[in-house]
Amino acid sequence: MAKLTIDGREIEAQDGQSVLQAALECGIHIPHLCYHPALKVVGSCRMCLIEIEKVPKLQVACGTPVRDGMVVSTQSERVRKARRGVLEFLSINHPLDCPVCDQAGECKLQDYCFEYGQAESRYQEDKRRFPEQDLGSTLVRDMNRCIHCTRCIRFLRDVAGAEAFTLYERGNRTQVGTYLETPVETPFSMNLVDACPVGALTSKHFRFKGRSWLMEKTRTLCAGCSRGCNVYAWSQKGRVLRLTPAENEWVNRFWLCDYGRLTVNDVNADDRLGDALRLGDCVDPEAALDQAAAKLKAYVDAGAGDKIGVVASARLTNEDNYLIRKLAREVLGTRHLAFVEGKEDDRPFEPSDRPLTEWFIREDKMPITWGARDIILSGEPAGDVLGLIAKARRGELKALLVFGEDLTRVTGEDRVVEVEFLFATGTHKTRTVELAHIAVPEATYLEKGGTFTNEEGRVQRLRPVVAPPGRARSAWQTARELAGRMGAGWSYRATAEVTAEIAAKVPGYQEVDFIEMPEEGQMVEHA
């Protein structure tokens, strides 16, 4: 431990920490551009200059380790003057095209110029000019805006394990990019957009879609794989425009893969289901649920409750699966409950310092395979989906309830199952939804609240970001509506009530608290 004084405030820092890290931890802001907590320190931007007592020259805070008794000033006139100078140099070639730049509003250079810079440029000569460069399917590079902080190079080299970027040419003409303009081929390319402190690297997917200050930012989870990355969903006018990573040391650190970011396209797709369907025709969702419940009740009353198959999914939330299970076991009284799960992944889960390609993206493309096992199985054996479908084809099942899944994707065939009554919920107009006798719309992961249990057994909170299209709702609400119409006195009004019941009933989930859940999530024991 080292004790040092920053701006008259005594703080304690761990040995080996830099002054910048120590200051940021205590909430003292030192401006910085090239420093990133997950990247190696280069000290190239000179923005974090600080004055240290008994040191004649100004030092960079990111590259100066803390020492006991150090007295640091981050706001002295000398420091401010030096920062003003650094900014003037950085702005020499910067185009100041903030009105068209996507980074505006979250640009560090813009913020610091606003804080320290001067309004008038003293630079009279021509600025350097480069054409815009296409860097593959995800990125556009605008070299004019680059400030040569090399964060992109360091991210690709040290974190992503894809040494694609380099500095070439010299001095004023220095460029950052791929050699011979080859596209960046890494599944993590869009992290470069977040890593870039200015607007030199922008995302093709988000380009010109919105302005950061007009969007609403909600912390939620990515449903692209079983890692359960924490994300910020940026929405405007009821549409999610982009996903960016939210820091979680135990899950995704600072990163998010391109696949995960682009899952937002599925949510915004044109073929979303907003109305209930009866044999492909739009009907009122309430009437559809009435009919479905009446049909199911007739089976149960005739003693054929066990001839109803129920398919849950690892794509839903824990709450959805819990009430689907309760519907199947307690209201319908069927043993035929299965869920669609993802692939096994035997690689270690924990975040590590190895390249992202080796550990980050999970093989299991379902967010809660493990949660579904905990909740649906709860120690009991359950058949797999293919077994259930085979049974239905043999005529052993009369009705089938499918929640949030497209069975044609599971079987790989174009037909579903020929049963007397097929009920489905779906987020999109899939084959199953079209072929179902009754289908009701389902909300996607950006439109509902709940919890996800990731592969490691970490329960994290999913928050609704935008309203679902039309009359769509969560599967747990559909299950509640069906059960209510069949005479079960369920009284769940909010997701938290279902989560509370999961905590009470499902082994290993005792500690889970929906309201008070910490940002990094809560660990549960797999049954």
């Binding site: 095209d97 009105p99 068209v100 054409p131 815009e132 380009r207 010109f208 879609k209 302005r211 007009l214």
Partner: protein, 165 residues
């Protein structure tokens, strides 16, 4: 609330006769009637709509967007006006421009004139001096929809008004 008593100044005998004061008032009316007849330019009113009142240079009428030389809008869709607009009557959708030097342009630029308070803050905020408020103030129309300006409405009729940026 109390009742406030107003004390009128007392009238003298001449005023209390009324008839002389009435005749004086009719005299003033007659004077102006004759003036409007023989010296029409002298009148303080305008014969609107045939004659229009001169406007101050900085008068704020309905918005227009300046064009580039090739006729495309000068606007770069930075959303500054939309951000600053107090009644939030501006709604922009941006898209990629064909011209790499321009980069970004508005695909849609909607102004709800019914909501606009003509404060001029959009003009103030514009980094390109693209939006300005013209001297066009005759904004009555038959339907609400006709008062929702689109990009085409904002770009038309630029030559015959003298709006100021």
């Amino acid at each position: 609330m109390g009742v406030k008593q107003i004390h009128r100044p007392p009238q003298n005998a001449w005023e209390r006769l009324y008839v002389f004061e009435i005749a004086r008032g009719l005299g003033i009316t007659l004077k102006h009637a004759l003036l409007s007849w023989f010296k029409p330019g002298h009148m303080p009113t305008y014969e609107y709509p045939e004659v229009k009142r001169p406007l101050a240079e900085r008068f704020r009428g309905r918005h227009r967007i300046r064009k580039r030389e090739d006729g495309s809008p000068l606007c770069v869709a930075c959303y500054c006006c939309q951000t600053v607009c107090p009644p939030q009557c501006i709604d922009i959708t941006a898209e990629e421009s064909d011209d790499p030097a321009v980069m970004k342009r508005p695909r849609e630029f909607k102004i709800n004139l019914l909501r606009c308070i003509f404060c001029g803050m959009c003009v103030e905020a514009c980094p390109r001096d693209a939006i300005y408020m013209s001297h066009d103030y005759e904004l009555a129309d038959r339907t609400r929809e006709q008062l929702q300006l689109g990009l085409d409405d904002l770009l038309e009729n630029q030559d015959n008004d003298e709006g100021e940026g």
